[in-house]
């Protein structure tokens, strides 16, 4: 068994598991707050995926002071993750304030009740 290769795919396995958990929550849970939690899990999975892409074996973190200029992990993926975390915060804040307003107007945050926009 090539443990070396399996070890290398470990981060991507966690990404798939986390994404599936998030997708499951979003698809099958009826409570809006749980859906937003599912979205947060999916965001973490996406961020983990981006960071694990940038990893090069045996290289230093991309902080300039601690490494010679050649052996560095790819910093662009870290920049992408930072932006995606900021966007994740903004979207979750907006979604939560929508849920607060829906609780005020509909009196319930169950997706079965929150569907007056049908006809």
């Amino acid at each position: 068994m090539n443990w070396e290769a399996i070890l290398m795919t470990m981060p991507y396995m966690t990404v798939v598991i986390l994404f599936m958990i998030g997708l499951f929550t979003v698809l099958f849970k009826k409570n809006l707050i749980k859906i937003i939690m599912g979205i947060a899990i999916m965001q973490n999975a996406a961020n983990l995926f981006l960071v694990s892409l940038a990893y090069r074996r045996g290289e230093h973190a991309p902080v300039f002071t601690s490494a010679e200029s050649t052996e560095m992990v790819m910093p662009t993926a870290h920049a992408l993750t930072l932006t995606s975390i900021v966007i994740g915060l903004a979207t979750t804040a907006l979604l939560l304030s929508f849920v607060i307003m829906i609780k005020k107007h509909y009196g319930s945050i169950n997706t079965d009740d929150v569907r007056r926009c049908k006809e």
């Binding site: 997708l23 979003v26 698809l27 099958f28 849970k29 009826k30 809006l32 859906i35 997706t111 079965d112 929150v114 569907r115 007056r116 926009c117 049908k118």
Partner: protein, 115 residues
């Protein structure tokens, strides 16, 4: 200048200006024929109603406004087996919207993989 002129009034293909010109000409012709008619006919309040069928319409014609939504009731009634599931399809449930999203991703992925 000629290029722009050609673009503005292209000879081949669809050209709205020719159509509008035609419309104007026909309009003028119709107006001329309209002028020929005699104008003694007055728009009187109690003109004879053209009798079509059934009982005479209610005395107050203004109340006869058919509501908008059931203008095509015949069409929708005939295709009931198509319209029923379609209208019910829009459930308004957030989870259903996401089912459709995931289903489309899977379907297109399979199609793209095999073809």
């Amino acid at each position: 200048m000629s290029a722009l002129a050609y673009q503005l009034v292209p000879v081949s293909g669809w050209n709205p200006l020719v159509l509008i010109l035609l419309a104007l000409i026909v309009g003028v012709l119709v107006y001329m024929i309209y002028r020929l008619g005699n104008h003694s006919y007055k728009e009187t309040k109690y003109k004879r109603e053209p009798f079509l069928s059934g009982n005479s319409p209610a005395d107050d014609p203004d109340s006869l406004h058919i509501g908008g939504s059931n203008l095509y009731w015949g069409f929708t009634r005939a295709l009931k087996r198509y319209f029923e599931p379609l209208v019910r399809g829009h459930t308004g449930l957030l989870n259903d919207y996401l089912y459709w999203f995931v289903i489309t991703v899977v379907v297109i992925m399979v199609v793209l993989y095999f073809v």
